[in-house]
Subunit: 336 residues, 2 copies
Amino acid sequence: MQAPFSTLSEFQTTLAQAPGPDADALAGAADRNGQLTKPPGALGRLEDLAIWYAGWRGMARPQISAPQVIIFAGNHGVCAQGVSAFPPEVTVQMVANFEHGGAAINQLSQAFGAKMDVYPLQLDQPTQDFTQGPAMTEAEVIAALQTGWAAVDPASDLLVTGEMGIGNTTAAAAVAAAVLGGEAADWTGRGTGVDDAGLDRKTDVVARGLALHATDNPLEALRCLGGRELAAMAGAIAAARHHSIPVILDGFICTAAAAVLAKAHDGALDHAIAGHLSAEGAHQRMLDALGKAPLLSLGLRLGEGSGAALAIGVLKGAIACHSGMATFAEAGVSDG
Amino acid sequence: MQAPFSTLSEFQTTLAQAPGPDADALAGAADRNGQLTKPPGALGRLEDLAIWYAGWRGMARPQISAPQVIIFAGNHGVCAQGVSAFPPEVTVQMVANFEHGGAAINQLSQAFGAKMDVYPLQLDQPTQDFTQGPAMTEAEVIAALQTGWAAVDPASDLLVTGEMGIGNTTAAAAVAAAVLGGEAADWTGRGTGVDDAGLDRKTDVVARGLALHATDNPLEALRCLGGRELAAMAGAIAAARHHSIPVILDGFICTAAAAVLAKAHDGALDHAIAGHLSAEGAHQRMLDALGKAPLLSLGLRLGEGSGAALAIGVLKGAIACHSGMATFAEAGVSDG
């Protein structure tokens, strides 16, 4: 579906006009939850998840039958600064791996019944090195936001956005620092596994980017410090909201992209939950800043949407219980 | 399959003769894990899970295609002491709910592709009130252990044991205190939701049971303080080991039953992982005592195998990645 914006200012307006959850569905789901054959609260967070999902889907007894996983890939000029343990050509190699079904996210998407789409974003034209100038022009960031927006299938009922991009933990750290505050060192981590010297270099690169692109505008921070795959994820998450499709956030890079939305417009992530806590050091700080408690904490730090895809299983379990269980009355069970 | 024991002493011998993991499969799985298209360690605990599972299944690249969930139900004489918020007739009502497909565990079993079997254990003959005498005779506890053993399908490739039994958090607390040490208050919690007075009463009941049945023998503790569904779960977990079937432990009651095995024979739970951390207060203490880190922590406290069934999804995701991903060589991806 075509994106309803062609400037960052229009994208900002789009965020402000996004729909909220359905109050009747929320109330109906909460009522149903109270009648199911279990002690009150005994399914813990599964109960909250089911009611949340019901509200966004606008039905008290929803199903999850069409999850979509979208992987966006981008390359980063900042790799010239030696910020990654892997060479930039791995981005295009991994896109081929996604397309041939060999990556972790392929297996997880299949395991949890999700359709998976892959969008390589001009991999032969890396963003500009953000220590030298803005990573993207407005036209470039808008194109990426629009690609992300259009990638969302309006008929899907759950969205996971994932990414691949050598160097993108550096971009994500810079974006996070710009929109959430704090120092470069607060947000910079080891990514795919840089050594101590690499981490120092990466932190310095992030600090220089922040110094060069001081801004109070989260969308400008995305343009100057982010990357195409971050912008595309932000566009997709915004589109999901437009279509009343709940979102499961993945790890550090996905959450940094999402943080741009949350800071651009209050409540812009209310339709999103945190799928997992990544082992990338600053992800906890990022989730705390967004007020999101992760569903899983299993030490993943792969990206690709992998942690979020794994959390599809948890959400499916929650909805299966909510919508499939008998009530006390239906089952003839005494309710205490 | 018929159980190879007819006394507690023979059951103890059975535990001592249980097989270990396959060293070749462990080594092969670890080697494969190192070649997959991801940065080393980037799948976190999923990698450990896959290697663990491969070892117990005896193949370096295993699948999960036949999980089995078994629910055992029992009634407890100790309910006469007013230890539960629900009346004992709920046990038989919930068994009917399981049989008609209306409970949470039905939905979760279906969602994760598990076969589910239900074993009501002489619900019209509650165990004896353990404040008055041993909960079970040796013949009774052996019968329950044998039922649990025979309930395991040797052709399954993953086992979850769950339970239903009004009053069984009281029995589980007493068993845990007897085999893991500590005071009644350390192990007694609110179960399905007793109030403060109920909790005090429950703690006193556990303390009286412990005083009456002091023993150093974990299997005797199971007989004197446990219940048929706890013994059946222990029998099933032991049978799974015999058949090289990995086990996902559920919450407080399941883990208490499993703790009996761990204390009866060192390493008897090496084929088992903790599916989740229950909201029942002392479950963390129990998992700590067994050295098991839970996969999930979502505030569930339902029993029925529900938390473990939810964790089937995580384990399936781990195995899907391990066995389905391409290697760096296969995918033509540079490995850093």
